[in-house]
Symmetry: C2
Subunit: 352 residues, 2 copies
């Protein structure tokens, strides 16, 4: 969930940032600013190099094991459809699933603000435990830190997951190919608009709920498609726009999607209209995009629709046979084409 | 580093905490309050059960792999001898080492407060990268979240490590046996007093520096001792008092140490006098206690002293042939005995 960084691949050189600059909210929003922070500061400092951004990294020496980490800072802690506890399980389970891995174990690390009611902590952890149990992944280790009042906002949760890949499903953000069909497993925009509406008291949250759910079963159902599944990505921070831009860049392909094919629930559309948001940049926590060989697209859709998590799966576009590499375009309802930009990233802080 | 929880073992039942209680600073300090939070709230919520507190958990299905997680919230970010970046590497590498494992891979997850100077972030990450390189462990994946001003205090870092055990060194907190010699690899109290002095402007930090360092080489040097090494533990939060109490409890043995044998640097003693602290409860980040078969104690000490990290290793006590299980006692300089209590936990927040 969100941009991961795997320090491998080709190094790019850029001017270092100047010393009077500071971290902005947008640096954590999963868009262009996040990518710049990674490329210009984090990876150079770690002596790594910018490479494909995958949702989970391979574990050195254990080629069938993958690892993924995420810190959850969503505000508020509780929202329609979920809470920070279930989200912390689903987010990491889904990152593992996007590499074709089933979850083996989770670690859970808490940073708690002094004064948090124990009842809230218990509720969150109960939800976390229930979500892990539903997925069938054990929480094997953890850590708890408490900081003084005002030094954190209630509760942050890190989960790190270890997953195991098996069979021939080895999707990667670099594997999209010209001609691929682009599939989407369900409607977009629910998580981000729900959290924002709850936080800001906008009232939309009576009509909508976060889509937070684990996607490992959906991915397992797709495993018979094996190497025909080129890319899997859950469009979390930065939404579908960020996910497709990352894939187009990392695979050096041109992607085109149909506005009319993208399922946007009515309440999401209304909320986005009011807030001036493009549903394409709103975070999701329970759907995935799949790039598959065109010849198996119908079979893939049928398989996705056979499990509840993919019941509303649709085909939304394709990888163009040719076109500007790294570019994502949208065919609008009136037949025009517009570029889908990588979101800059400042729009929706603390959405996950 | 600090109490880990591995939800296995025998369940204890206690009264649940009442709903108007809140999280206290002491709940995160590694002492009795931390243990109570774990036993009464966290583990029941996760449907786990209280068990031995190990520094790292075994990975299900991969008996040679261990996993450990820690969130670092130390304040200030920079202190004599280290910073939150190097600490985040050493802490997790050491937790893996305490299970006899060499580090295979680290994940790094950042929670950054809006407004943090990029120069500080770069400095911390440079230190983190340097520490990881010195250990020889790759940072394979990560995550960055940014929260608004006032929603976090500058920077928190989670590291999660995967380690591999090999050979016959399989230490565990449950393996201390009557007659064991208790060894300590170096002086105590440096990290906690340094951080506290720096934070509070007490001025001791001109004389002392954190002992933060990786201990994997020291543990590797001890590996020829194999099964004679029963327990390894780095006495971090809660200090030597917490570490020994946890081992005494988990192994159901009585431990006795000699006050005169415990190396307390003069500056640490002065600082503790002034602050009203017992050096036994002050956090360390670069030493370990080892419980070994008495017959190999001299050999173990010689091995420990052969590497720089263990140059000042000493024997500080033993597991009594009989005595009250779970109790730790101190033979004082004047020949009296006093009980070394598990610290309650409120003394030193945000020390790691």
């Amino acid at each position: 969930m969100g941009p991961m960084w795997a320090p491998n691949g080709e190094r790019r050189t850029r001017r270092p940032t100047t010393k009077d600059e500071v971290v902005l909210l947008g640096h954590g929003a999963g868009g262009r600013l996040t990518a710049e922070l990674l490329d210009q500061l984090i990876l150079p400092a770690l002596d790594g190099a910018p490479g494909p951004m995958e949702d989970a990294a391979l574990l050195p020496g254990s080629p069938d094991l993958v690892i993924s980490t995420d810190s959850f800072v969503v505000s508020p802690l509780f929202f329609p459809g979920g809470d920070i506890g279930s989200l912390a399980v689903h987010g990491t389970v889904n990152d593992l699933a996007m590499r074709g891995a089933r979850p083996l174990a989770l670690s859970v690390s808490l940073i708690v603000e002094e004064g948090l009611p124990l009842s809230e902590l218990r509720s969150v952890l109960g939800s976390l435990g229930k979500a892990a149990k539903a997925v069938g992944v054990p929480v094997v280790t953890g850590d708890t830190k408490v900081v003084g009042r005002g030094a954190a906002d209630k509760l942050f949760i890190n989960t790190t997951g270890i997953g195991q890949r098996s069979g021939s499903l080895h999707p990667s953000a670099v594997l999209a190919r010209p001609g691929d069909a682009v599939l989407l497993s369900g409607p977009i925009g629910l998580h981000g608009t729900t959290v924002l509406s709850t936080r800001e008291g906008l009232g939309f949250d009576s009509d909508i709920a976060s889509d937070t759910q684990p996607l490992h079963r959906l991915v397992r159902a797709m495993s018979p498609l094996g190497p025909h599944v080129h890319v899997l990505r859950d469009p979390t921070r930065g939404g579908l726009a960020a996910a497709l831009n990352e894939i187009a860049r990392d695979s050096s392909v041109a992607v085109e999607i149909d506005e009319g094919a993208i399922p946007v629930p009515e309440a999401v559309a209304s909320a986005c209209d009011l807030l001036g948001l493009d549903p394409l940049v709103v975070a999701n926590e329970g759907c995935l995009v799949a790039f598959v060989t065109a010849s198996v697209a119908d079979e893939a859709l049928a398989i996705m629709r056979s499990v509840p998590e993919g019941a509303q799966a649709v085909r939304i576009g394709e990888v163009l046979p040719e076109g500007r590499r790294g570019r994502v375009t949208l065919r609008t309802l009136v037949g025009a084409r517009r570029i889908v930009e990588m979101p800059l990233g400042e729009q929706l802080p603390r959405i996950c």
